[in-house]
């Protein structure tokens, strides 16, 4: 079901093979330990009290009755966490404000959404902890609430923060609003571009928040010792991030908090922040016992981040020959209860696949009474791409051009300028579209009520900080300690790159995700960065090991280091001048470590640059049932530029998984609220993610246009695949029915209503 298209041919030994992952066996025998699978002697169970109201002022919280219940060892509220300064820290795209973060961990002045954490208890059993929650008395003053983004932007909307002045507007507005930030990007002259266009298409779109839907709820175990040191085991995309956030939120020294990466049961961006870890640490501190907290599925839906819902308008101006001369997008994203939706990414990514001379994107970051959004796979890009790529389809139809041809005509090639001021310096977009076009299914005939839709998508891909240490063992095997939690098989790709570099067998390399006290700082697993950035770090460390191996050989041969070279996994004399010696294998040198200077190991820490953007192009065939409005996916083909597939099976897996998440986003998934601002579907029965019988085999095409800035050509592979599906499905539905759907999800009732409106 997958094919690989390679530009150019590779000359590698183990990279590109499909070995069993090093961490595989414990995952099929049930022995792998995920966030909820750790226990300690004397451990207590922590539970969190949550707001039943969408918006309420908190008068007082009386915990005395809960405290008095036998078996209860600690009760905490926001008063047990230090206040934080109000400031946005870090790069704008991913800025953090601890004043907001601490209020999301435990509410202070107000409860801002149903499910907002108010207080927490630790008790000797789950049942006692639950009983204690009922004894906490909270005095709420219920306030009017707002859920929808367009309503939250109205001048008379209830305000979440009475003093919030929109950032990014000059001069700043006099009145507070729910608009946290306005962002604008411009390239060329849009007005001139539209004036020159042969045709202009315009449409408006809405999407609903969707949840990452990882199957493992957030869970952690924390132990706080009386000397002020603490240890946390948790399911997270970045245990260093857990350390940074938790130490700051709790008010402890970074060195006093040791964080372990549990095996992680899915995340997709949703576990790049903390919810339960600081609460467990403080409960442990207060009780003197280890504390375990497991979220329920309902808590996951109501209190952890989905991604934004949005309201958007797109205009595209085209010439009759297919050239796009102007494009404009307005993107209003829900941030949830605290600022920082991914709207900036949406503004940057929406038109990034194309070389358009005149572009303007305008974004609004808007708070409303729903859980704070957090990253979800290519955060921000799929939302704006649904609007932009649907409108691309309208433009192609308007001028009567094939949708892949239309995209090829405008595709960004190296040298193209983006609206956010960068210049594209990587090939791969056009190659990917061409690979998709060549798929035999693209020209296959369609039946009654069937349609075909095309869409493309862009994602930045990430670099950043990573660390690793390679230890050589006396039998010629190696251990790689690295800092990136492995969500989808990255230990396999890391081991493949280490084996390739060291010239030893894949099975001789054993990677381990080391805790925060055992390896250097490493950013979270996110942004499709691990195989690129952590891979690069591991390769650097392996190269240092090889250098040391050569030095050891020189010592054994009594020659200069410069007279030894490393080739094909062996130290060899560098030409005749160096003397006649039998080549020494990795294993042979490893065996002589004691005699040649002691343990052989090397570390590397980098802030990786040179990542290449991700690009995916997809088409799907659907059949629309005219009686029920049900949309069946008949075929889904997804081509993606992966740079180089280190472990092709896991690259395919990323594409297959990303596409199916996109199908869920397109057809089923949404947060449904009642009039009181309560989520009505906080479970997997009613928030329906795709099941096996909903989808066909996803056909992936791995396009390999290597990244010249990575030793093995790696580009990220995890995220670009979720960008196109929503528009691809909408475009296919128009092809099948002649109806343009602009409101996600395109669930049977909505499709049926659209069909009925025409009858």
């Amino acid at each position: 079901m997958a094919e690989t298209i390679v530009y150019p041919e590779r000359e590698l030994k183990v990279i590109g093979t499909r070995p069993v992952r090093p961490d595989g066996v414990p995952k099929v025998t049930g022995l792998a330990q995920y966030g909820a699978d750790f226990n300690l002697p004397g451990m207590l169970w922590g539970k969190i009290l949550r707001s039943p109201h969408a918006h309420a002022r908190i008068g007082s919280i009386d915990t005395s009755k809960a405290q008095a219940l036998p078996g209860v060892k600690a009760v905490i509220t926001a008063a047990d966490l230090p206040e934080q300064k109000f400031e946005y820290l870090g790069p704008e795209r991913v800025a953090v404000n601890y004043w907001h973060m601490t209020r999301n961990i435990l509410a202070r002045e107000k409860a801002l959404y149903e499910g907002h954490a108010i207080a927490a208890v630790a008790a000797t059993s789950k049942a006692i902890a639950e009983e204690a929650l009922k004894l906490i008395e909270v005095d709420y003053e219920v306030l009017p609430h707002v859920i929808d983004v367009d309503e939250a932007m109205q001048p008379d909307a209830p305000l979440l923060f009475e003093d919030m002045i929109t950032r990014g507007v000059e001069p700043p507005p006099a009145k507070p609003s729910n608009v946290s930030k306005r962002i604008e990007y411009k390239l060329g002259d849009v007005a001139k571009g539209f004036a020159a266009a042969d045709a202009v298409v315009e449409a408006s779109y809405k999407t609903k928040p969707v949840h990452q839907g990882y199957i493992e709820p957030q869970a952690c175990l924390a132990r706080y010792d009386s000397d002020g040191q603490a240890e946390v085991w948790s399911s997270s995309q970045g245990h260093f991030v857990v350390r940074t956030f938790t130490s700051r939120l709790v008010g402890m020294k970074v060195a006093d908090l040791r964080c372990h990466a549990a095996e992680i049961g899915g995340a997709f961006g949703g576990k790049t922040v903390v919810y339960v870890e600081p609460v467990a640490v403080v409960l442990s501190k207060k009780s003197g016992h280890p504390v375990k907290i497991m979220m329920s599925r309902e808590e996951v839906f109501k209190a952890t981040g989905p991604t934004s819902g949005a309201s958007m308008t797109i205009r595209i101006g085209v010439m009759n020959d297919g050239r796009i001369v102007a494009a404009e997008g307005v993107f209003k994203y829900q941030a949830g209860a605290f600022p920082q939706s991914p709207v900036m990414n949406g503004c940057m990514c929406s038109f990034a696949p194309y070389d358009i001379p005149n572009v303007r994107t305008l974004g609004f970051d808007v708070v409303s009474n729903r859980p704070k959004t957090v990253a979800y796979r290519a955060p921000g890009s799929p939302i704006s791409a649904f609007a932009a790529e649907s409108t691309m389809d309208l433009a192609a139809r308007k001028i009567g051009m094939d949708p892949i041809e239309f995209r090829l005509k405008n595709i960004a090639r190296p040298g193209a300028k983006t609206v956010f001021g960068t210049t594209l310096n990587h090939a791969g977009f056009a190659e990917t579209l061409q690979a998709l076009k060549k798929h035999p299914g693209y020209t296959a005939p369609l039946g009654k009520n069937q349609g075909r839709g095309v869409a493309a998508g862009y994602w930045f891909n990430g670099g950043g900080e990573s660390s690793a240490t390679v230890h050589v063992n006396e039998d010629g095997t190696a251990v790689v300690a690295e800092g990136s939690p492995d969500i989808g098989g990255s230990r396999a790709s890391i081991a493949l790159m280490a084996a390739e570099t060291l010239g030893i067998a894949y099975e001789s390399v054993r990677p381990v995700i080391a805790d925060t006290n055992s390896v250097g700082y490493t950013q979270a697993t996110g942004g499709s960065r691990v195989t690129f950035a952590t891979g690069m770090t591991v390769i650097n460390a392996c190269n240092k090991v090889i250098d040391e191996m050569c030095a050891r050989a020189a010592k054994l041969w009594k020659v200069d280091r410069a007279d030894v070279v490393w080739e094909d996994g062996h130290a060899r004399p560098a030409g005749k001048r160096a003397g006649e010696f039998e080549p020494l294998s990795f294993k042979a040198i490893a065996a002589k470590r004691t005699a040649t200077g002691g343990p052989i190991s090397a570390s590397a820490s980098i802030n990786a640059e040179g990542q290449a953007p991700g690009f995916s192009a997809q088409f799907c065939d659907v059949e629309v049932d005219p009686d029920t409005g049900y949309v069946k996916i008949l075929r889904f083909v997804a081509a993606q530029d992966v740079g180089r597939a280190i472990h092709p099976a896991y690259c395919e897996g990323q594409i297959e998984g990303g596409v199916v998440q996109g199908i869920g986003w397109a057809l089923n998934e949404e947060y449904i609220y009642d009039r009181d601002g309560h989520m009505e579907n906080p479970g997997f029965l009613d928030y329906r993610i795709p099941v096996a019988s909903d989808v066909p085999m996803i056909e992936s095409i791995l396009v390999e246009v290597p990244n010249p800035k990575h030793p093995y050509g790696v580009k990220g592979v995890a995220e670009a695949n979720i960008v196109p599906p929503m528009a691809a499905v909408a475009n296919a539905i128009e092809s099948a029915t002649g109806l343009r759907l602009t409101d996600l999800p395109m669930s049977p009732p909505k499709v049926l209503a659209a069909l009925d409106s025409r009858r």
Binding site: M1, R18, V20, R21, G24, V25, K27, V28, T29, G30, L31, A32, Q33, Y34, A36, D37, K126, A127, Q212, G213, Y214, I215, E216, P217, E263, I264, G265, G266, A267, F268, M294, S296, R297, I487, G488, G489, H647, A649, Y650, E652, G653, Q654, E656, G657, G658, V659, V660, Q661, G683, F684, L685, I689, P690, V691, A692, S693, D694, V695, M697, I698
Partner: protein, 158 residues
């Protein structure tokens, strides 16, 4: 209230435990017996991560009470391999990369084994509908379906 005394066979081993009336089998397995291979994804019977068999019947252990198991035989993921010899389903899941994060894998394997015991030669559609109660958010299901079909083929060869 007094706890219930339960005697059961778990993965072929005689086990006795005490549990509260409201404790689910999932909680008993994980919290009392330290069999944490059975996972909690929802605790409402919607995700299948806690799949086990009771007297050969596939169930969600989160919808079964621990006290109901007296005199019954429960099979969990921990009982699937024979010593260090993996079941063909486990082997094919590894060879064909049918797991990414792996949290749904124990339930998927238990459910797939129950399918193959009833239907040793299922079609792709039959596998998809049988596993429709086991959610996976990572893989898009391709490789899971391929692994179950491949394991079925292997097992038919004997």
């Amino acid at each position: 209230m007094a706890k219930h005394h339960v005697s059961a066979l778990i993965n072929g081993n005689p086990v006795e435990y005490l549990c509260d009336a409201q404790q689910t089998l999932l909680e008993v397995l994980r919290d009392e017996l330290n069999l944490t291979g059975t996972k909690e994804g929802c605790a409402t019977g919607d995700c299948g991560a806690c799949s086990v068999t009771i007297d050969g019947r596939l169930v969600c252990s989160c919808l079964t009470l621990g006290a109901e198991i007296d005199g019954k035989a429960v099979q969990t993921i921990e009982g699937m391999a024979t010593g260090t010899e993996l079941h063909p389903l486990q082997t094919k899941f590894l060879e064909l990369a049918a797991l990414q994060c792996g949290i749904c894998t124990p339930g998927m394997l238990v459910a797939a084994k129950a399918l193959l015991e009833r239907n040793p030669d299922p079609t792709e559609d039959e596998v998809r509908y049988w596993l429709a109660g086991n959610l996976c958010r990572c893989t898009g299901y391709n490789k899971i379906i391929e692994a179950v079909l491949a394991a079925a083929g292997e097992m038919r060869k004997g």
